[in-house]
Symmetry: C2
Subunit: 101 residues, 2 copies
Amino acid sequence: MNTPYYAVIFTSLQTPDTAGYSAMAEAMEKLAEKQPGYLGLEHARSELGITISYWENLEAISNWKANLDHLEAQKLGKTKWYQWYKIRICKVEREYEFEKF
Amino acid sequence: MNTPYYAVIFTSLQTPDTAGYSAMAEAMEKLAEKQPGYLGLEHARSELGITISYWENLEAISNWKANLDHLEAQKLGKTKWYQWYKIRICKVEREYEFEKF
């Protein structure tokens, strides 16, 4: 990816009610991949869940936020799955990578 | 936190050699907390590890990167613990939070 681009950091704590969560998370990842300006996604969960999606620009993020199926998932997230979450919209200014050969 | 501030997204894949890793990760977290301009840290690991540290400005990030004990940890990370990692320096432009009561 060429900087600058954008990252949405989604940090969350789940409720005990995880029914339907994995299927929805998978569906949303597939849907995000189809959005214009989508660059990639990284996810990990320990106690805290962190999902970072990467986008070409802020318009791509706005469009994704307003996607109807995604809006439905957001609503379920608030009522069922998440005790707490925080979303940060970030401009990725620099990056570097290490790989062991 | 008041935007704008900065995030360092550290995404990694570990090698099978995890000896000493947890102790070092804990020591580095404690050391980071003492640095000027440190705002917080979030971590999760599944297959992928994601650690995000938050900082007041780019100078605070440069100072942390150049900290001598941290340089030693970075060296060990490259030789022992990490198969791959990627570091992204990001400006956090907006944030919002949800909490269920």
